[in-house]
Symmetry: C2
């Protein structure tokens, strides 16, 4: 039976509507957006389940295009400065500890809690950039995709759509010895390709799950292997995600090894395509941005993590002027609130330029509309899913904002996009649907109590280990 | 009858406690923090009302040391770039429109909604920097404190503690003609002093209300008047709040008029004392920061507004090293979430320095503890109220965070301050007490429906006016 969702306001199919309805077909796709008059005219509703979302605004679901779920484990516990100073690389030591800690069972529990937090913040699809492959000693599991499958199980259990971006990670870096903290990440080139293809076959077992390839970075994956992985992704039509230019040091190492920056290298070797998403891409030069634009690649910006790690400020204005598709990701899970990422994308530019409206009216696009598009449709594109606009035929992935949330009070048709981006937050999220099914209803998830309890057990075990 | 609040975790009286109780006396002040054993031993509880806050962490109430409530009216509606570019000064035109629009009745309604939003985000005291004095034509009301009194009424109605910082505003600027958009702000020097003293006398009518003086800025208040107002504040022991160095242009105008920067001028003329709070203070030189430190003055930083207005980044690390007391304010109400302000104070420095832990271990203070202290005790100091630490004798102003909030899951004694600052948000706030009275209970306020309805009417009238 098809469903008819009836919110007060709706951003769908290219416009903002009041009193309209979103009809969803049996496959969980958008069938049509009905205006108020058409709804009133449909007196026979025996063939449709009506879901009233009074006092709420319905928006396309937020896309989290870059996530490492297990990093949730040390949130808020790695903000201090260690003796002798703190940098990105000391944060990484804490990350290694969490990576070493998880078992298939505990990773499942952590992933469920993190995915539930995502859903509760309006996220309907996650690109999980997954680089935990081996057991704690660095040996492959009996099924080398054991941990990836646990993450996909967790996503299905929570009801979030997932693109499992299976990472390839082969070395610590150019002329660097293997690092003990990375022993769960390493695979040979051959295994990496074979395991990724096997995982793609297995994905069909899960609801709303796909697979992409994620050669970690040019630091961790040499060029030849990177090219082979890109060819595999091309063959299967899979998204290709690569970390690039998060830290200046990475660019310098690439120059030393190949005599070119990562982007120059990727461009020269055909690694930049419309299926490519570059994660971070903070320290790009003008010509590099041109190459990204010409290729139609996406950049996934993770402002909340980037401010947390002190990575620097992504030039979102340059990207917008070049028509580069920009998506957002929660990355390290320092916080999970894509609307906050969206506004930071603008705000960080304002802090530097001491000027407002940095992303407004570029190509004639209003700033709120642009940033919401990044947070939705661009993220869906990055993950290889046609969605994010709630057009007929697209998956009915959406979330609602409570119009009585004190931060949004007074939101109307004209201000919906701008107020959602500049004042909205997870505090106002009430309902979330993936493929037309409500996985969050009035801020509640069917399994929330169990998910919380299991996460807390894992968290405690992680802390106990640290205390020893 | 005294009250005993029993949260799961509590940050009070200089420590983090599990299973402890906060006993509040009949005057609404903290009587004592009881440990779990002492609570169990108290078998006779007929003299105390027990309030269980299971599954929650209790923290000292957040202080919002700088607020212009009426600016809530155009939230999310002034983010675009006007034809010909957008700057701080075009944002100000929108602010003038809102300032011109409000009546005593509608200002009351807007202030109530904004104060409720503050309470719902854990704020227990607000410093309302109030500069709307005259009627829409620029004439004083029959009672020249009419609008200030409406704001104080609104605070009492919502239950938030208020320090009404009555602004003096005498001119558009050095060698500038009066500006029509400012006609509601202007008063002569004599009226300004007389009206402030009258308001202080009237404050006794309200619960939890005090008055401070707020010469708007050296741009709007010439030096002689500034000195007189400071003397009046000194005579009555009132806080003195002044905008300073939000924009570089202001410094330049001051140099042109007086041959000194605002801070040099204030220091020379005795305007910097422990009762002085400098709002913004972004573009100070090293020697100016030294002068602020030596005087024991407070700086009120408003990072969310400052990122919104493109003001620039406050050097919080320099201030911390000099031992300057730093408070936070929501200012323009772009968002109301002091915990977000607290983390931005650190994060904006990280973005520039590309380094983590910028405010950690300065003077041996852990970063989360430092930022929470800014958000609480420093704000109370700025507003002339002894509070913010929940020490015996201080007002029992506090809020609770829900430990089952997905963003805070796993919070414990060791991580409370750091997780609250780096992952907490208004989404997790459940209860708020001012002087021991719960004004928010389990996220609900007794008058919330009425407050929302009246705000929405005012918002609509404001939009209708714009459309005409």
């Amino acid at each position: 039976m098809s469903k008819l969702f009836l919110p007060e306001l709706m951003l769908a199919n290219g416009g903002v509507h009041r009193g309209a309805g979103l009809r969803v077909d049996d496959n969980g796709n958008v069938a049509e957006v009905l205006d108020a008059a058409s709804i009133a005219a449909r007196t026979d509703r025996t063939d449709v389940e009506v879901v009233r979302l009074a006092g709420k605004a319905l928006l396309p679901g937020l896309a989290n295009a870059h996530s490492h779920t297990f990093q949730r484990l040390f949130r808020g516990r790695a903000e201090g400065r260690k003796v002798g100073g703190d940098t990105f690389w000391t944060w990484r030591e804490q990350m290694y500890r969490a990576a070493a800690f998880v078992t298939p069972e505990s990773l499942y529990d952590v992933a469920r809690a993190t995915f539930l937090e995502m859903v509760a913040s309006g996220i309907t699809v996650v690109g999980e950039f997954h680089y935990l492959h081996n057991d704690a000693l660095g040996k492959p599991f009996a099924n080398p995709n054991e941990l990836a499958l646990q993450v996909m199980r967790a996503a299905e259990s929570v009801g979030i759509r997932i693109c499992l971006l299976r990472s390839a990670y082969m070395r610590a870096g150019y002329r660097k010895d293997p690092h003990a903290g990375q022993r769960r990440f390493y695979e040979t080139r051959e295994k990496s390709v074979a395991n990724a293809e096997a995982l793609q076959k297995a994905a069909g077992r899960f609801k709303n799950a796909t697979v992409g390839l994620a050669p970690h970075s040019i630091r961790a994956v040499p060029l030849d292997a990177m090219k082979e992985l890109a060819a595999v992704a091309g063959k299967h039509g899979m998204p290709l995600h690569i970390h690039v230019s998060e830290q200046i040091a990475e660019n310098e190492a690439c120059l030393a090894e190949y005599g070119e920056t990562p982007i120059e290298l990727f461009n020269e070797h055909g690694l930049l395509t419309r299926r490519t998403t570059l994660i971070h891409a903070i320290h790009l030069t003008g010509p590099e941005m041109d190459e990204v634009s010409a290729a139609g690649a996406t950049i996934c910006s993770c402002p909340t993590t980037e401010r947390n790690l002190g990575d620097g400020i992504f030039p979102a204005d340059v990207a917008a002027r070049l028509g580069i598709s920009v998506a957002f990701g929660t990355d390290s899970q320092a916080q999970i609130d894509i609307l906050e990422d969206a506004r930071q994308s603008e705000y960080h530019l304002r802090l530097i330029a001491q000027q407002r409206g940095m992303l407004d009216q570029i190509g004639g696009v209003e700033i709120g509309t642009r940033l919401l598009h990044c947070a939705t449709a661009s993220g869906y594109k990055a993950l290889g899913v046609d969605g994010g606009d709630l057009k007929p035929g697209q998956p009915a992935d959406f979330f609602t904002l409570d119009l009585s949330d004190m931060a949004l009070l007074g939101m109307d048709e004209t201000s919906l996009a701008s107020q959602a981006v500049f004042a909205g937050s997870r505090a106002a999220v009430r309902d979330v649907a993936v493929a037309g099914r409500l996985v969050l209803a009035d801020s509640h998830h069917a399994q929330e109590e169990e998910i919380r309890a299991r996460y807390k057990e894992v968290q405690q075990a992680f802390l106990n280990e640290e205390a020893q």
